[in-house]
């Protein structure tokens, strides 16, 4: 069976084309390549790790089932993003019908003894996550694609199916909002840094 190590045998587009025309081994290679990205997109869309797990899995099922319907005239990244986004919506809709989840998801760091330094780091991480939470799903996605993944706003716009101007504007808003929240949340951070 082919695996990720065999990716270099063909270009990414060739793998996708082979997968599209029914080559199961190629489909597996493509799926493995994109799996982390699918999980990441699901989390950015839903802001909830548990729901994101479900959405990513469902997206994998649809990738396997519907790869033949992918139109190579469009970027694969954009098509796959739409698949993940549809799955995220479906997962949200199902959750809405089933009511709140029963599973309590806790990060139980409080059960472990912490040093002052660890607590500081945890608080800083928490503030970062809280600020990130304040962004809309769209802002989170554009921010991640551009500032973390290194795509240009034009590439992000193509992936997310939005106008380039909108992507640039959304990225600008995302950075501004995120950083303003970070700084507002950490009024004592600057003092601490000054004292270092």
């Amino acid at each position: 069976m082919q695996s990720w190590e065999h990716m270099a045998e063909h270009s990414p587009d060739e793998w996708i084309e082979r997968a599209r025309s029914g080559d199961r081994a190629a489909l597996r290679v493509v799926a493995e390549q994109w799996w982390p990205t699918m999980r990441r997109w699901a989390l950015l869309d839903l802001g909830d790790a548990s729901l994101a797990e479900d959405a990513a899995q469902e997206a994998m099922v649809r990738l396997v089932r519907f790869i033949g319907q992918y139109d190579p005239a469009r970027p694969f990244r954009a098509w796959l993003h739409m698949v993940v986004r549809n799955c995220a919506r479906d997962v949200m809709a199902r959750r809405g019908r089933q009511g709140e989840r029963e599973v309590a998801l806790e990060w139980e760091v409080a059960d472990h003894p912490s040093t002052d330094r660890q607590l500081d780091l945890e608080r800083h991480a928490a503030a970062a996550m809280k600020a990130f939470e304040a962004l809309s799903p769209r802002q989170r996605q554009v921010f991640d694609l551009c500032d973390r993944q290194g795509l240009t706003p034009a590439e992000a716009a193509e992936t997310l199916g939005m106008a380039q101007g909108t992507a640039r504007y959304t990225l600008h808003e995302a950075r501004k909002t995120l950083r303003a929240k970070l700084l507002a949340a950490g009024s004592d951070v600057l003092q601490l840094l000054r004292d270092r």
Binding site: W35, E53, N86, W107, V109, H124, S136, R138, M162
Partner: protein, 392 residues
């Protein structure tokens, strides 16, 4: 550059470009401290996302997907992965351990609480109570707007076409005919379901279009729906009931049926999603979230439209979505003004940001399609707070 200008730049440019400001940062501890906070926090976010992305087992996911191809299964799929969550949260801390050269702290709630909350929380839903001021029709006043007499895309540059009527879809869409047809529909399936439906009476489709299915026929078709497993066949039966309810003017029943169709059958028909969004847009702020949601679902399948229909429908959806987001924003602002707490303020800020993004998207599209962009521009300025933000 002075400190004010540097700080302005620090709020705007990507972390990767902070090096451009190094000559100032090297000599200014306060600006350096600001830059450090941003770099560390964004690094923590990035590593947390990386960890979540890498935590899922591809092998498990692949095998489940292969099994699901044989036996259709619905989620939830995964065992609840506490490991994944712990890894994600730990990554945020690890990121700081790796990047921070000294202890630092950010005021706020205890780390585990906030991080776990983000991880375990769904998107914030703004559900303000309807108020008399806000509970207006999203598109009130546009019902009387003339339908575009020609393709927007063919209007000569410089002479912008009047904006399409976003609600015209309520009369334009026929539930019986999805745009572009249904690729999964088969002749054998058509024949099979036609035979089954024939037991409910003759000429069902013409009668449904006129809203004249009688109660026994409707009950019979409902029974067919309940006993049909194939989605393509269910789709056809469901559309029959939808067409009948709409034509008969029974909008309460139509809404029940369309919700069932979108939940149980398919949400791939952008016409139906658009019609539902337009329908909800006439129900005020309490349904505005639904307008946004179904507009987005319709836009995801916009490629099924072509030519003039594409232009008119996409414009209409962007408009409906923007107006709904505006209503949610205004409602959230009202609530923030009344309650004056941080959570309400944050909700209002998020609602404004969303409304601004949608308005900008509507404006971009109106300009690209050479349609009247007056309303979109006004809304963009209103949500962004500055005319410059909405410049071409």
């Amino acid at each position: 550059m002075n400190c004010d200008r540097i700080r302005e730049r620090l709020m705007e440019i990507p972390v990767a470009e902070f090096g451009q400001l190094e000559s100032h940062l090297a000599t200014c501890p306060e600006c350096r401290a600001l830059a450090d906070v941003i770099v560390e926090a964004e690094g923590a976010i990035g590593l947390a996302l990386d960890d979540f992305a890498a935590a899922g087992s591809f092998e498990d996911a692949w095998q489940r997907a292969e099994r699901a191809e044989v036996v259709p299964v619905q989620g939830p799929w995964a065992r609840r992965s506490v490991i994944g969550l712990a890894a994600l949260a730990a990554a945020a801390v690890l990121a700081l351990a790796l990047t921070a050269s000294r202890p630092s702290a950010v005021s706020g709630q205890a780390g585990e609480t906030v991080v776990a909350r983000w991880l375990g929380q769904s998107d914030v839903v703004v559900s303000p109570p309807p108020s008399p001021a806000a509970d207006e029709h999203l598109d009130e006043g546009t019902d009387a707007a003339p339908r575009p007499g020609r393709a927007a895309s063919r209007v000569p540059r410089g002479a912008r076409a009047s904006e399409p009527d976003a609600l015209a879809v309520l009369n334009d869409v026929s539930e019986l005919q999805p745009p572009g047809g249904d690729p999964e529909r088969s002749a054998a399936g058509d024949e099979r379901i036609a035979r089954t439906l024939a037991t409910c009476g003759q000429d069902l489709e013409p009668r449904a279009i006129m809203g004249r299915l009688d109660a026994p026929s409707i009950a019979c078709v409902e029974a067919v729906y309940a006993n049909t497993q194939r989605l393509t066949e269910r789709d056809r039966v469901s559309r029959l009931l939808l067409a009948n309810a709409w034509a008969a003017g029974d909008h309460t029943r139509w809404e029940q049926l369309v919700k069932r169709h979108l939940d149980e059958v398919s949400r791939a028909d952008p016409d139906l999603c658009y019609k539902y969004a337009a329908f909800l847009s006439r129900r005020g702020v309490s349904r505005a979230e639904g307008v946004v949601r179904w507009s987005e679902v319709a836009l995801e399948n916009k490629d099924r439209w072509q030519g003039d229909t594409y232009t008119t429908r996409v414009y209409g959806l962007l408009k409906l979505r923007s107006r709904a987001a505006e209503l949610l924003w205004r409602s959230a602002e009202e609530r923030a003004a009344v309650t004056a707490d941080d959570e309400a303020r944050d909700s209002a800020d998020r609602a404004r940001a969303l409304a601004a993004t949608f308005a900008r998207e509507w404006l971009d599209y109106a300009r690209a399609a050479n349609l009247d962009d007056t309303l979109a521009f006004d809304l963009c300025v209103s949500t962004a707070g500055a005319r410059e933000a909405c410049a071409e």
